[in-house]
């Protein structure tokens, strides 16, 4: 099966192997908030720097408002940073060449209830530059990967939350992205759906896909990720490697210590 021109080989070019898949360099992001008189600025984060290397599976942890979704939106090119630089394999996330490398799953996206999943996947596949006959084959493959194949004749309106989330993942996988950005991918899913999701992500990671996911489920992040970035009040509080949380009694303990008041005193 031939790949479309917008897709890249799993191995990547030599240059891509040398540079981080995702790079934040002294990034500052401010939001404007409308007030009764004029506007006010809210700083989501300042001087944020980190790299996610090719093939890495990294997690973003933090309390609500810590800046996790903002990081994901910056990577997906949905918002712009005020200062600093965000790069996807050395390219600006606003450029189409960078966007074709990314598969993005926002938290609980909407899909038209009267459509069948295959049509939705084909639509998003076309927007990613895929062409027939590869498009149909890949849409079917994405349904297979995400376990939606038995439900492909159902309309999306009949889907459960877990099935909708699988469809969300399928649209993100359509163009075989090199980077998967997943915002709360297991939120509200039952244990079986979570396990299936974990298996899909493990398979993607084994194929060399770089994964960045945010979640409130520490146990899931612990199982899936090799490294975790803990965000607190708009700053990177700590980066923890898998071996660290395995050695220090689990990720939950480390996370609570970092984000709690006790952690602040430290």
């Amino acid at each position: 099966m031939s790949r479309n021109s917008v897709c890249f080989s799993a191995a990547g070019t030599a240059a891509e192997n040398d540079i981080p898949a995702i790079s934040f360099h002294n990034v500052e992001k401010k939001y404007k908030i409308n007030r009764l008189f004029g506007t006010a600025e809210l700083t989501a984060f300042k001087d944020l720097s980190f790299d996610i290397m090719k093939g890495e599976t990294a997690g973003l942890l933090g309390l609500n408002g810590a800046g996790k979704t903002t990081i994901m939106k910056l990577i997906a090119g949905l918002i712009f940073c005020n200062e600093g630089k965000v790069e996807i394999f050395g390219k600006s996330p606003l450029k189409p060449e960078a966007k074709s490398l990314i598969g993005f799953l926002p938290e609980l996206p909407y899909f038209p209830p009267n459509e069948k999943p295959l049509n939705v996947l084909k639509y998003y596949g076309k927007l990613s530059g895929l062409k027939e006959p590869y498009l149909s084959a890949r849409a079917n493959e994405a349904l297979e990967i995400t376990g939606l194949k038995p439900n492909q004749e159902k309309k999306i309106g009949q889907f459960s939350k877990g099935m909708l989330q699988r469809l969300g993942l399928a649209q993100a996988l359509m163009h075989k992205p090199k980077i998967l950005i997943l915002d709360e991918p297991v939120s509200g899913l039952d244990p079986i759906a979570i396990r299936d999701f974990r298996n899909i992500l493990s398979a993607e990671a084994a194929n060399g896909t770089t994964i960045l996911l945010s979640s409130h489920s520490i146990s899931e992040v612990e199982k899936i990720c090799g490294r975790v970035l803990i965000m607190k009040n708009g700053r990177l509080a700590r980066t923890v490697q898998k071996e660290d949380w395995e050695k220090d009694g689990g990720l939950e303990e480390i996370f609570i210590n970092e984000v709690s008041d006790k952690g602040r005193e430290k």
């Binding site: 090119g77 949905l78 060449e97 966007k99 993005f104 938290e107 996206p109 038209p112 927007l127 990613s128």
Partner: protein, 256 residues
């Protein structure tokens, strides 16, 4: 991105927007509403002893224009907020789809939908007229085309207003106001003749900025044998293109 690829993506987004509209319950209710209104117009015309054909055509044309306009205003003024809430815009803009291409697809989709509404309501109107044993007036089709052009212009401006306004209601009101203003722009001509200096320049600027929608009220002109001038058609395209260009610039700066 090449021109062919861009056109393909515009086509995909436009067709998807059209398909979504067709499948939405709002659209179905709208079609039922249109039919009921046209039927009511047939009843109303029975009260008119003479000129029944004319009365019926006038009411139908007015309803067709209102239907198209209301659909476009309701759809466009809430489109951005709805797409952000549903996160569908995330799924498009996180892909290699330039924002101006996405906007062109959305605008075209709404215009195709309004053309479809105009077509369906026109067929309904013709059915009602024929049922009454009357002939469809010669100006009918030109007048429907004029109503569509007006809606297309307002649609392009409604997208622009949706990017600058802080709420759906404001965008809706601004677009509605432009529709009203567009019908009194032609009154600026006599005023300009009497004005001078800054006042003249201001009136002149208004006459250029605000689209003159009377150019597309083709009922009378079509009846006289002048359906639509090339100049008026070119003006419509310029207003749509200008509104699109500003909208595309605003969209490129928009954060989601």
């Amino acid at each position: 991105m090449g021109i062919i690829s861009s056109l393909k993506i515009i086509n995909e987004i436009a067709f998807n927007t059209f398909k979504e509209s067709l499948k939405s319950r709002f659209f179905a209710l709208f079609a039922i509403f249109a039919f009921i209104m046209l039927y009511a117009s047939a009843l109303g015309s029975m009260l008119s002893i003479s000129h029944e054909e004319r009365v019926l055509a006038d009411i139908s044309l007015l309803l067709i224009e209102i239907m198209c306009l209301v659909y476009a205003l309701f759809h466009v003024s809430s489109a951005l907020t709805r797409e952000i809430q549903e996160k569908t815009i995330y799924l498009i803009l996180s892909r290699p789809v330039p924002r101006h291409i996405c906007l062109a697809g959305k605008e075209l989709g709404v215009m195709i939908t309004t053309a479809f509404i105009a077509l369906i309501t026109s067929i309904m109107a013709i059915c009602v007229i024929k049922t009454r044993g009357l002939d469809v007036p010669s100006f009918f089709f030109a007048a429907v085309a004029g109503a569509f052009l007006k809606t297309a212009i307002i649609t392009a401006f409604a997208f622009l207003f949706s990017f600058v306004s802080t709420s759906d209601t404001t965008a809706f009101v601004m677009s509605g106001l432009l529709y009203v203003l567009g019908h009194i722009t032609s009154e600026l001509g006599p005023l300009m003749e009497k004005a001078s200096g800054a006042k003249y320049l201001m009136l002149k600027a208004c006459s250029i900025i605000f689209p003159n929608l009377n150019l597309y009220s083709l009922r009378e002109t079509a009846e006289a044998g002048f359906p639509l001038s090339i100049g008026a058609l070119a003006a419509a395209l310029i207003w749509i293109a200008a509104a699109y260009a500003i909208s595309a610039w605003l969209f490129s700066k928009k954060e989601f």
